[in-house]
Amino acid sequence: MLQPFFQWMGELGFSAYFLNSVWPTPILQCIHLLAVAVFAGAVLVVDLRLLGRGLTWASIPDLARAAQPWLVWSFVVLVLTGIPQMTSTALKQYYSPFFWWKMEALFVGVVVTFVIRRIITSKEEGHFGPVWPKVVGVTSIALWTSVTIGARLIGLLS
């Protein structure tokens, strides 16, 4: 169903530019990876804290508030640098099971991190009981690890 849409994306002049130029794609990939590092840090410090590990000296709401701008802006950079990489090899992505694995995990990850975890981290420790914060922390780590694995496998196995 989406195949014509991916074909259209792949035929855009913008996509052809990235596919046929030498330096733009490696530069985008490097920026994308730097944003992965910042995003991973922003996700992890809060998720570990939800699990009762890491920066336990700080309260959960304070830590989540401090990490939020890094989380949001690194995610914006990830999307902006990810789109040209995706469109320039659109049909390869479309036919890759790992692309769809990544997108599904990404969608759920965004909902968990930016919506559910945001609610959990807005209240002091204990407000949601001992279990839910840990469930959210583990789920968030698992989802973003899954996104990273899926992303890496697109390049290696597709």
């Binding site: 840090g41 992890l44 700080a58």
Partner: protein, 181 residues
């Protein structure tokens, strides 16, 4: 001079390359896929954690948390990440030494990792000794901030050169002229 230095190391790389265990790993169907995937995932852990440590030192983030608390909270995770990251990196090198030997970006990355180790050792041996006096200051002393900025820049460089290792052809002409490949 650089060329002869690399030529001195060539027999070592060729010796490892011919080892049965190296050949076996190299010829494994999915070995490299698993290794590189684990390397990238653990990179997220290492770089993400170290970024927060460095941002605390530079006063960019977590300014209200004492430096020692940031260290005790994050470093166990950093060490776990480093063990996986360095381990998978070493096995990748061991399995394909003659792929990495002529790679400009690989050596650039190794050089930056060496400077990172020296920077960390200098911080630990000198600057950190007085941490009790400034660990609650939102902005650390200049030397600590400088160590943080150097670390941030070098880790960014390690990530960039690590990614560029896949682009072994996009290198300076003087490197190609060495004729290592």
């Amino acid at each position: 001079m650089i060329g002869s230095l690399f030529e001195t190391m060539r027999p070592l790389f060729e010796w490892v390359d011919a080892m049965p265990s190296s050949v076996s790993l190299r010829e494994s169907l999915n070995g490299y896929v698993y290794l590189l995937t684990a390397h990238v995932v653990s990179m997220g852990l290492v770089a993400g954690v170290i970024a927060y440590w460095d941002m605390r030192l530079t006063g960019v983030a977590l300014r209200w948390i004492p430096v020692s608390k940031v260290k005790s909270g994050l470093f166990p995770w950093l060490y776990a990440g480093v063990i996986i990251n360095a381990g998978t990196g070493f096995v990748m090198l061991y399995s394909q030494p003659m792929r990495y030997y002529p790679n400009f970006w690989f050596w650039f990355k190794m050089g930056m990792l060496l400077i990172l180790a020296l920077n960390a050792a200098y911080f630990h041996q000198n600057i950190e000794k007085t941490v009790d006096q400034w660990e609650r200051d939102p902005v650390a002393p200049l030397k600590a901030r400088m160590a943080g900025y150097v670390s941030l820049a070098l880790w960014a460089g390690v990530i960039v050169t690590g990614r560029m290792t896949a682009y072994s052809g996009l290198v300076p002409q003087w490197w190609i002229d060495l004729g290592l490949g």
